[in-house]
Each structure stands twice: as structure tokens, then as C-alpha cells.
């Protein structure tokens, strides 16, 4: 296996006048969880379809596990697992039959099939219900079964398209934990798309942010927060009048300032310019009690990349 599980160079796909994926260049290291985050319609699903060789790129190239997606698409599909936008399960069949079918598709040795299916269903707490038809199951259980199907043949790389979409928070958290554990145990590379930023922050080693088909940023969650997050501070105290706020807003080193739950949230233009601003506050009659640096979240990074304000 190559050290780089996915490598793309200028990967582009257009549909008529619409560019779904534009000049995408990225690398995903083997054995890592890579999160691809973006809004609906940003180009995440099209990227997965391109990487699986289900769609031809308009231009650019990509290699998945060392195979070219144009000329060796069948080899790419032969060594990857997928959970696409829909679970893709045959709802008329039982969980057991669904996994049996894909075990046959992946040519799992007959002796190994039963053990592997049992192992996965046990880990996902679905074993007792294996003979029920999938149509009777909740969405959370179906998603779990689809994850089991994606990992059934122990692929070195798994594509998961919005795996927790539509699940309630408890089911989503459970699936996320299962996913992280399964991927870690099997040493699988995971390419995960999501618009759930907290989820991406929790389980991804590296993250790429895509908007309007373009890769806006890439790095570890920490790197993205450091590079793109704004250095905000929370000032605890008394006397944050409109007049004080107006004084701060007039300062060139202040990007934004707002009152929140009786505290003052300041966003300086750069790190290190906080102390003079605190002096201005004190000079304006504010009783400053505490000053806390605030850790940027991935959500802040995401919205700053999109040039939008987070919805509070």
C-alpha cells in the first residue's frame, strides 16, 4: 500500500455550465481519518463519485491507493468500501442477507464470512436482530448496518458520505464512536464528508473545507483553528456601555466587538494587541475583572472561510 491513500491534482468536474468540483488538489495519508466539510451542494458527493470512478473527471487526475481513477476505476472500487448518500441496503432483505450478498460480492472465503459478519454485527449490537428485514429498522440501525457493509471486506480505504446525516444526536454520537473504533482497529483510511463540524473536529485527523467546488483550506483541526480562527477574548467586568463599545469599534486594531451574556467579546485584528485594548477599557471607566482568550472552533474557521457570520 502507498503512504498516500488519495492524491488528486487539479481534479475538476463540470455539469454543463456548473462546476461541481474545481481544480481540487489534495493528499490523504494512509491510515488517517480525513474529513471533507462543506455545505450541501459544495461538491463533496461529486468528489467521492469521482474518486470511485463512478464519474469521469472533466480535467485533472487522481490516484486512489495508487490506482488511476480513469484507467483503473475497477481496481479502485475493488479495494474500497462505501457508504454513500443513501444507505444502499436492500430493505426487503434481512440484515444477514444484506451482508451475505456483499460478502459474496467481495469474495470473502466461505469459512471467514460467518465469523466476519458476526464480529461486525456483534460490535454494532445488531447481532440479535440479524434476521429482521431492514425495512423494519430505524434509520440509525440501518446506518450502522451500512457501516458494517462498508467495512465487511476489510478495505484499506472507506468513503463515508454524511454517515450521521438524519440521525438524532444520540444515535449520531454512537455511530461516530463505532466508526472511530472500527477504523482504528482495522487501520483503515477513512474519507468522510460531513456538514457536521463538531463531528469532523472530534474524529478527523485532517480536514479539508470545500465551498462551491473549491478547496478553501486543508490541515489538522488545530492547524485550521490556528491559521484561520480569529484570536477572540472574553472580558469579564462591569461598565460595558454603548459608548465604550463605540470607542472600541473606532479602533483600527479591533475587528469586532460585542456584548454577550454581560461579558464583552473582542476580536482583535492580530494576536498580541489585546493589552492596549484592555488599557483603553480601563481608561474608559470599565471595571475589568478577568480577561480570557477564547479558543476558536472549527465552526468559526468554516464561517470565516465562507465569509459568513455563524448563526447564533
Amino acid at each position: 500500500m502507498t503512504a498516500c491513500a488519495i492524491r488528486t491534482e487539479g481534479l475538476t468536474r463540470t455539469f454543463g455550465s456548473i462546476t461541481a468540483v474545481s481544480d481540487l488538489t489534495l493528499e490523504v495519508e494512509a491510515g488517517t481519518v480525513f474529513g471533507f466539510i462543506g455545505q450541501s451542494g459544495a461538491g463533496k458527493t461529486t468528489t467521492i463519485r469521482l474518486l470511485l470512478g463512478l464519474l469521469e473527471p472533466t480535467s485533472g487526475r487522481a490516484e486512489v491507493l495508487g490506482y488511476d481513477i480513469r484507467s483503473e476505476a475497477d481496481k479502485v472500487r475493488g479495494c474500497t468500501g462505501v457508504l454513500l448518500e443513501h444507505s444502499g441496503l436492500c430493505e426487503r432483505l434481512s440484515a444477514w442477507d444484506n451482508l451475505q450478498f456483499y460478502a459474496r460480492v467481495w469474495k470473502l472465503p466461505v469459512a471467514d464470512r460467518w465469523d466476519r459478519i458476526r464480529e461486525l454485527l456483534d460490535r454494532l449490537e445488531l447481532w440479535e436482530r440479524r434476521d429482521e428485514t431492514v425495512a423494519e429498522w430505524s434509520r440509525g440501525m440501518r446506518q450502522k448496518l451500512a457501516v458494517a457493509r462498508a467495512l465487511l471486506h476489510r478495505p484499506p480505504l472507506v468513503f463515508l458520505d454524511e454517515p450521521t446525516s438524519g440521525l438524532d444526536p444520540v444515535a449520531a454520537a454512537a455511530l461516530r464512536d463505532d466508526l472511530a473504533e472500527l477504523a482504528q482497529n482495522d487501520g483503515t483510511t477513512v474519507f468522510l464528508t460531513t456538514h457536521n463540524l463538531a463531528e469532523a473536529e472530534k474524529i478527523c485527523d485532517r480536514i479539508g473545507v470545500i465551498a462551491n467546488g473549491e478547496l478553501k483550506a486543508i490541515g489538522t483541526p488545530h492547524e485550521l483553528r490556528e491559521q484561520l480562527g480569529s484570536p477572540r477574548v472574553r472580558v469579564v467586568g462591569r461598565g460595558f456601555s454603548e459608548q465604550v463599545l463605540a470607542i472600541l469599534r473606532a479602533r483600527p486594531e479591533v475587528r469586532s466587538v460585542a456584548r454577550e451574556n454581560g461579558h464583552l467579546i473582542m476580536e482583535p485584528q492580530r494576536q498580541g494587541s489585546v493589552a492596549p485594548l484592555v488599557s483603553i477599557l480601563v481608561g474608559s471607566g470599565v471595571q475589568v475583572e478577568e480577561v480570557h482568550p477564547m479558543r476558536s472552533t472549527l465552526e468559526d474557521v468554516f464561517f470565516s472561510l465562507l465569509g459568513e457570520e455563524p448563526v447564533t
Binding site: 463512478l54 475497477d74 448518500e85 444507505s87 426487503r92 450478498f101 460480492v105
Partner: protein, 244 residues
């Protein structure tokens, strides 16, 4: 490759039986078996076995039965959102396509083959005065062979239509029209022929043995089957199927 085709056919069968496993599905199959395996032989008696036209009935009848099953092949998967996952697997195009065709052919042809001995039993029970009535080996091979080729024709055209149909309903509507056309086109073409040509055709069929006609029909059906399968394989494109 053969193993992959069987794998797809295995799942199709599982789905077919789970779909027809309901009361309405079972009732439909029972009504069909009762009509073709009991009612028709009972009404027609020895003619059901001996009349030359019965050979052509067996070649014609599966076309109608197969459309109800084969429309689901791709259109149904598209409706149930299972197609893209199947396309993202390691299965080759031909295995997916031929597996679906094989499952339909075995299902419909199997049902046809069940109706044949059922008809024999019915005739021998209801018309026992003529002694034991059996198919001749030639006629048995003709019936089984023509019904197989006809089922394959219906299945291949069904898969071809289902590849591009937006829903199972649309696929079924299109297939009904096609099967009607396939079944009645020879009659329409015959009536459109000039009078002398018609006389020539009739003379040929009157002079030809039933074996010659069966061989000619079988050759025509086989050629159509191969052509339709090749067209379907040519039109099977993963990117089109994903975007449809």
C-alpha cells in the same frame, strides 16, 4: 465472472421472493399457474398437447409474464436508492447486467416449466378416455427451448428499458407496449404484405414441417436475444446510471 453473475442473480432471487412473498404476490402466481396449468389444459383437452399452435403459445406467453418482473431491474434499484452502492462495488458491468437477466429468466422460465407438467396432469385427469397423453420428446424440447428464448427476449428488452426508465411504473408501461408490439407485430406485418406474398408465406408454412418452423423461430429469437443483450451492455454506463 460466472461467480459474480450468480452472486447478482442470488440477490435478485432473494428480492423477488421477498417481494412476491406477500399474499398478493403468492395469489398472483397461483392464479397464473391455475390458468395456464389447469384451466387452459382442462378446456382444450388433447389439443393442449397435440395442436401445432400450442408450441407458439409457449413462445408468446412468457413475454407478458416477464415484463412484470424485469421492469424492476434497474428502475426499482434507482427508486430504492440501492443502485449507486451496487455500482460502487467491485462487480463488473457485465456481471450486474447478466445477473439481473439470469435471475428474471430463471424465475419466469421456471414458472413456465412448472405449468407444463401441471397441464399434463390436468389433461390426463380430465380427459382420461383418450389414454395416457404425453408430450413427444421433440415437442418437449421445442416448448422448453422456445419459452426459454422468449423469456430471454423479454428479460433483455426489460433490462434495456429499465436502464433508462425513471421509475418502475414507467418501465412497466414501456415494456407492456414493447411486449404487445413484439407479440402482435408479426400479425400486423403479415396483413400489410401484398396478397401474393401472403399466399407465399402461407404456402411455406403449410408445406414446412413444424420442426422447420420451430428452428426458424428459435433462430430469430436467439438473434434478437443476442442483439438486445449487446445493446444493453453497450448502454450500461456507470456515470449515466449514477446521474440518472
Amino acid at each position: 465472472m460466472i461467480r459474480d453473475i450468480w452472486t447478482v442473480a442470488w440477490r435478485e432471487w432473494k428480492e423477488l421472493f421477498s417481494r412476491d412473498g406477500g399474499l398478493s404476490g403468492k395469489l398472483g402466481l397461483l392464479i397464473f399457474a391455475a390458468f395456464v396449468g389447469i384451466f387452459l389444459p382442462w378446456q382444450l383437452g388433447a389439443a393442449w398437447i397435440e395442436a401445432p399452435w400450442v408450441t407458439f403459445f409457449w413462445a408468446w406467453m412468457p413475454l407478458f409474464l416477464v415484463t412484470a418482473v424485469t421492469a424492476d431491474a434497474f428502475a426499482g434499484e434507482r427508486e430504492r436508492h440501492t443502485l449507486e452502492t451496487l455500482l460502487a462495488s467491485r462487480l463488473p458491468d457485465s456481471a450486474i447486467l447478466l445477473g439481473k437477466v439470469l435471475a428474471t429468466v430463471l424465475y419466469v422460465w421456471g414458472l413456465t416449466l412448472i405449468c407444463m407438467p401441471l397441464g399434463l396432469v390436468t389433461i390426463n385427469l380430465t380427459h382420461s378416455e383418450a389414454g395416457l397423453l404425453l408430450y413427444s420428446p421433440n415437442s418437449l424440447v421445442s416448448l422448453a427451448g422456445l419459452s426459454l428464448l422468449s423469456t430471454l427476449l423479454g428479460s433483455a428488452s426489460g433490462v434495456l428499458v429499465s436502464l433508462r426508465a425513471s421509475s418502475v411504473r414507467v418501465a412497466q408501461q414501456n415494456l407492456s407496449m414493447i411486449s404487445m408490439a413484439l407479440a402482435f407485430l408479426p400479425v400486423v406485418v403479415f396483413r400489410a404484405l401484398p396478397l401474393e406474398w401472403r399466399a407465399g408465406v402461407l404456402l411455406y408454412f403449410m408445406e414446412a414441417s413444424i420442426s422447420e418452423v420451430v428452428i426458424m423461430l428459435a433462430t430469430l429469437l436467439a438473434a434478437l436475444d443476442i442483439t438486445l443483450l449487446l445493446i444493453a451492455m453497450g448502454r450500461f454506463r456507470r456515470d449515466r446510471l449514477v446521474l440518472d
